[in-house]
């Protein structure tokens, strides 16, 4: 029956996920059985006792023993299911004491992760495999919800409060992070990527913001240029939730053809889009806002490593 579990549930990312799947399937089969008990007999009766003119029906008002049975048996079943659910929930609710702590700040519409060593990323969460990781979460604006389907965990993130969730990832590779509490226009684009990697890769990740960037700057592969690295940043750091590449106006200016252009700012002055301006716009975005746009972009100061900024500049340059 493994195929049925896989049909209904996302990939398994942790031991906890495996437990939840087992419980889910248990409830599924119980429900199938109970459905057969309560919903099929009426259909059978509708055929078996179909209308015949003149037939007199028996006057049966109740049956006390039967009624006690169908009150008490479901009650016992419910008590059992409650305790089963409680057991799993205790595991979810109480993080082990030795867990590594990652801070999450959610805001419209991106995830900001901060590691114990102070390094930060946007929408790009890396954790070491087989280690307990605890997330301390808060929101800067409205309620969001940190949901990792593969880990079977989610918890609301509330402004002005800290909430917690934890997991112990066992499946290496990439997993989806989504926002599960409605938060407005960009709600459904508020995705992050969880990368579960081995200890060595994780240590390297903390040092340089990943290992992948080196491939794009050594010139060995013509398909991996600094501009391509910029595109990766564009897609993973949250740029794409506000900036388009095809010229259509979104929450921020489109990047198409922007390089080298004279832009009019909201105070009427003009600015040339060059490396200095692009860098400034990433680090202190409210300083020079292009006319017609809201100053809603958060600062990426400390969020982008030098290689990522270089990549993004090369990428914008390439969009002529």
């Amino acid at each position: 029956m493994e195929w049925l579990t896989r049909l209904m549930m996302p990939p398994v990312g942790s031991e906890f996920a495996k437990e939840i799947d087992f419980m889910y399937m248990g409830l599924f089969w119980l429900s199938v059985a109970l459905f057969c008990i309560v919903a099929l007999p009426p259909i059978y009766f509708a055929w078996r006792y179909r209308y015949k003119p003149g037939r007199v029906t028996p006057h049966i008002t109740h049956n006390t023993p039967l009624e006690i049975v169908w009150t008490v048996v479901p009650l016992l079943l419910c008590v059992a299911i409650f305790f089963w659910g409680l057991k799993g929930w205790m595991e979810y609710a109480v993080a082990p004491g030795d867990a590594m702590e990652v801070q999450i700040t959610a805001k419209k519409w991106l995830w900001q992760f901060e590691y114990p060593d102070g390094s930060r990323t946007i929408n790009d969460l890396h954790v070491p495999v087989n280690k307990n990781v605890k997330f301390i979460m808060t929101s800067e604006d409205v309620i969001h919800d940190f949901f990792v389907p593969d880990m079977r965990v989610k918890h609301d993130i509330i402004p002005g409060r800290y909430t917690e969730v934890w997991f112990n990832p066992t499946a290496m590779g990439k997993h989806v992070i989504t926002c599960a509490e409605y938060c407005g226009k960009g709600h459904s684009d508020m995705h992050g990527v969880l990368t579960v990697e081995n200890d060595a890769d994780f240590a390297k990740f903390l040092e340089t913001g990943g290992t992948e960037w080196e491939d794009y700057f050594n010139g060995k592969d013509p398909k991996k240029t600094p501009a391509d690295w910029g595109r990766v940043q564009y897609e993973t750091k949250g740029c794409n939730s506000c900036h388009t590449l095809d010229g259509t106006k979104s929450k921020g200016p489109s990047w198409k053809g922007i390089w080298g252009k004279m832009e009019t700012l909201n105070n009427g002055s003009k600015v040339l889009v060059d490396e200095a301006y692009v860098r400034e716009s990433m680090m202190s975005p409210s300083a020079k806002v292009v006319n017609g746009f809201e100053p809603i972009m958060p600062s990426f100061q400390g969020l982008l490593k030098e290689n990522q900024i270089k990549g993004l500049i090369a990428f914008i340059q390439s969009l002529q």
Binding site: L27, G160, R161
Partner: protein, 550 residues
């Protein structure tokens, strides 16, 4: 003396009286200022069905937008993310506050309840008219809010999103506030009516089970709705004057809003489902031509569901940041809901056992109700169980679950009840053949639309999503196609019901061989319901043959 068995134990047909409640008086004001519960019921029916149409169009639009990940139809983007958020908010708010809460009690309940009690009208006819106009005012305010830009908060108005977003949120919440009072007055009226206006000889346990269901609903309407009113006033105060109640930036607590909101809105779920169950308790014995099994168990289970509904609101907030102890207690209490619901299911099933079952359209809807309510109820177990809820909450699994309960159960019962009492209300029979077609399409369409969504949810598709991952596309497309079949079924149903109005009156007084008092008067009833005060001679659902002298 020879004795024979009458096929119908009830009063036979008399010649149709010339005057009935529809043609007794004429003109706009004879309707607009009427105090007749039947006319008020009909006005409510027109109102809630119009709202259902509006909410339904928004639902189809939501599904159509989700057909493909690009949201394009014939090369054009159907709705932008912002429009989508407004449309699903309108769908939810209209369906909940304008349609499903008043649907059964205020339309069918208004029409049938006094007739079933053998009364001339409800206890407070003027209050009844007033509550209709409150509903109308609330509806107009909600539509005004739509015209002035629409709100994008979701029907739940969660803070601090709802206190910080643009749009006429205050107008929309004021509309819901007014609608709440309409609901309170209807409930109050029904409670007084059931207590004081029962026919001679009708004790509490001679009440038709429809009345028990409506009575239990009325208790919730009167006790829970004021909390919604208070909450919405607080929300308006915060939005308008910056008083920090829910927004943490000005010292409020957003989780407090959720507690207040669900303290009303969970009982409100029972305002929606109890009247549906009440209709089913009428349909099943009537079309099985057999007495109801476990009358008292069904009556008590309605009341106990009403009471339990007040102490389970926290199950909407297992991952929302309420205390962990509260979460555990709410999960335990939530399982209590399963017991009276199960009791009702078993009683209905045993009523059909050894019956003489006629599969007319209302009964087809009743059987549909049993299957859909079973699915809705059983999937509730997944959500009440703490560990599985963590994964499933806020996903399409929840969306599917409550649509099975609210639509698959309540709306199915409402349509069944509408067909059941249609001859009484209009004096006309509808096309039985088309009725079956409509019911079949309703079943196919509904299950295609919403069974699919359980799979979307368990796979990890969050609700209220405009964009979705490509892997979910096939299921979304399947669900959307289901919604068209559902819409077609409803369109056909509306068409043949309206078509029946063009015929001359052809309905007998008691087309289904029912046993409750509304079948003792003519179809449609006269202005004052009964020619003479009916007296209860036999308890309801008594299908024992009557011995008659030959």
């Amino acid at each position: 003396m020879d004795q024979g068995i009458a096929t119908s134990p009830r009063i036979g047909d008399r010649p149709r009286p010339k005057k009935n409640y529809l043609n007794e008086t004429k003109g706009f004001w004879s309707w607009a200022a009427t105090l007749d519960h039947k006319r008020i019921g009909i006005m409510y029916l027109v109102g809630v069905l119009t709202s259902f149409l509006m909410g339904g169009i928004f639902a189809l639009l939501v599904r159509l937008t989700l057909l493909t990940p690009s949201h394009k139809l014939f090369g054009k983007v159907l709705l932008t993310a912002e429009q989508y958020n407004r449309v699903f908010t309108l769908h939810g708010a209209i369906m909940v506050f304008l349609f499903i809460i008043p649907a059964i009690p205020a339309s069918l309940g208004n029409f049938v309840l006094p007739l079933m009690l053998g009364a001339k009208d409800v206890a407070f006819p003027r209050l009844n008219l007033f509550s209709f106009y409150l509903w109308l005012t609330g509806a107009i305010m909600a539509i005004a809010a739509m015209v002035f830009g629409a709100v994008d908060t979701g029907w739940t108005f969660y803070t601090p999103y709802s206190t910080t977003t643009d749009g006429p949120v205050t107008l929309m919440t004021a509309a819901v506030f007014v609608l709440g009072f309409s609901s309170i007055f209807t409930g109050l009226n029904f409670i007084a009516t059931v207590h004081k206006l029962r026919a001679p000889g009708m004790g509490w346990f001679d009440l038709p089970l429809f009345i028990w269901g409506i009575y239990a609903t009325a208790i919730i309407q009167v006790l829970a709705t004021p909390v919604l009113g208070i909450t919405l006033v607080l929300l308006m105060l915060e939005r308008s004057f910056g008083i920090g109640i829910f927004d943490p930036r000005i010292g409020g607590d957003p989780v407090l809003f959720q507690h207040f909101f669900w303290f009303y809105s969970h009982p409100a779920v029972y305002i929606m489902i109890l009247p549906g169950m009440a209709i089913i308790s009428e349909l099943i014995p009537t079309f099985s031509q057999k007495t109801i099994f476990g009358y008292r168990a069904i009556a008590y289970s309605s009341v106990s569901l009403a009471l339990v509904s007040f102490i389970v609101w926290g199950h909407h907030m297992f991952v929302a940041g309420q205390s962990q102890l509260a979460t555990v207690v709410f999960s335990a209490l939530t399982f209590l809901v399963a017991i009276p619901s199960g009791v009702k299911m078993f009683n209905w099933m045993l009523t059909m056992h050894k019956g003489n079952i006629k599969l007319d359209t209302p009964m087809l809807y009743a059987i549909s109700f049993l299957t859909m309510f079973a699915i809705g109820g059983l999937t509730g177990i997944f959500l009440g169980t703490l560990a599985t809820d963590v994964h499933l909450t806020d996903t399409y699994f929840v969306v599917a679950h409550f649509h099975y309960v609210m639509v698959g159960s309540t709306v199915t019962a409402f349509i069944g009840g509408l067909h059941y009492w249609w001859p009484k209300m209009t004096g006309r029979m509808y096309s039985e053949a088309w009725g079956r077609v409509g019911c079949a399409l309703w079943n196919i369409g509904f299950n295609m639309t919403f069974l699919t969504q359980f799979f979307l949810g368990s796979k990890g598709m969050p609700r209220r999503y405009y964009n979705y991952l490509d892997q979910f596309q096939p299921l979304h497309a399947f669900s959307t196609v289901g919604s068209w079949i559902l819409g077609l079924g409803l369109f056909i149903t509306a068409a043949y019901l309206l078509a029946s109005l063009r015929k001359p009156m052809d309905a007998p007084d008691n087309p289904w061989n029912g046993t409750t008092l509304e079948w003792k008067t003519s179809s449609p009833p006269i202005m004052h319901n009964f020619e003479e005060q009916p007296v209860l001679e036999r308890e309801p659902y008594d299908y024992r043959p009557v011995l008659v002298a030959k």
